[in-house]
């Protein structure tokens, strides 16, 4: 099973990298960019076929290591 995990900064957490990207986009002439938030994307290949178990396991992985829940949210997508 393949899992796709998106990790994003929580609302209210400043994202200086996102701001710098937004600036660079405007320097390139892209107008209308109101906000950029940068996050992380992680792919995990997981053995087994029980998606409920996989989800629980992935959730624990995110909470314990992949995301810092003080500042980040995570979302897990599971592909059979």
């Amino acid at each position: 099973m393949k899992a796709r995990i998106h990790i994003t900064l929580k609302k209210g957490v400043l994202d200086p990298q996102g701001k710098a990207i937004a600036n660079a986009l405007s320097h390139l002439g892209f107008d209308g960019v109101e906000e950029v938030r940068q996050g992380k994307y992680i792919e995990i290949d997981l053995a087994g076929s029980d998606s409920t178990q996989a989800r629980a396991k992935l959730d624990a992985m995110c909470a314990q290591l992949l995301a810092n829940t003080v500042i980040e949210n995570y979302a897990v997508e599971l592909e059979a």
Partner: protein, 231 residues
């Protein structure tokens, strides 16, 4: 004073802090590899600066889950003093020993220079040899030192006098201009609730003697050695 310095792959201030500890206490610390699960008996544990695991994922994230960290957290909770410097502070927040997080510097650049710090709480094992309000010069050297905590946590830190050091100007003014990295409330170092855990981004171990360019960091190690002798 018997101390332990935890060494992670990518630690690079472990030897500096070992020199500082030995200079103040007369005893060389025991260097403990991150993969160990047991900690020797000691009066002080230091999580040194560096770039453990190459700062992969988040600074300190991997190191905080190293086998030795279970023992470090257990000792900290039992009252053993633990000092985290730079990467050590990042590891502490990742391990839950201290609240909040250290994010990318607001200016996005790696900063390596001396800064001025205002001593905000000298009622701790670590800071007893400083005066409250004293201004000290200590180097910083980090990319991720931008202290963040949610408003409730920040309020708790402030109201319980748990901010140990703040970035300030050379004459002690705490303002945005003196804030190198965007840290909330100019926070450079914080304490845990019990006061036995200090995490700070600046490097006191780098300025412990005039020939190194300054000695404002020395008082921290002298204070620890004095209070933890023969403990």
């Amino acid at each position: 004073m018997k101390s332990c310095v935890i060494v992670f792959p990518g630690s690079n201030c472990d030897r500096d802090v070992a020199v500082a500890l030995e200079a103040s206490s007369g005893n060389a610390p025991q260097m403990v590899w991150h993969g160990n699960t047991e900690l020797p008996r000691c009066d002080l544990i230091v999580l040194p600066g560096g770039f453990s695991h190459g700062d992969y994922l988040r600074s300190g994230a991997m190191a905080a889950r190293a086998p030795i960290m279970r023992a470090v957290v257990a000792r900290a909770n039992a009252g053993t003093p633990v000092l985290g410097l730079c990467n050590g502070f990042q590891i502490m927040t990742e391990a839950g020993l201290l609240p909040g997080a250290l994010m990318r510097n607001a200016g996005l650049k790696f900063i390596c220079r001396d800064v001025f710090l205002k001593v905000e709480n000298n009622g701790t094992l670590f800071t007893r040899r400083y005066q409250n309000g004293q201004i000290i010069r200590i180097p910083i050297s980090h990319h991720d030192g931008n202290y963040f905590a949610d408003p409730t946590t920040l309020d708790r830190l402030e109201s319980n006098n748990r901010v140990a050091f703040r970035y300030c100007t050379s004459d002690g003014v705490v303002n945005a201009a003196a804030n190198p990295n965007g840290s909330l409330n100019n926070i450079a170092g914080i304490l845990n609730e019990a006061g036995n855990v200090l995490g700070m981004m600046p490097h006191p171990e780098r300025l412990i003697a005039p020939e190194l360019g300054g000695s404002d960091g020395r008082a921290m190690f002298d204070a620890l050695a004095e209070q933890l002798q023969c403990a």
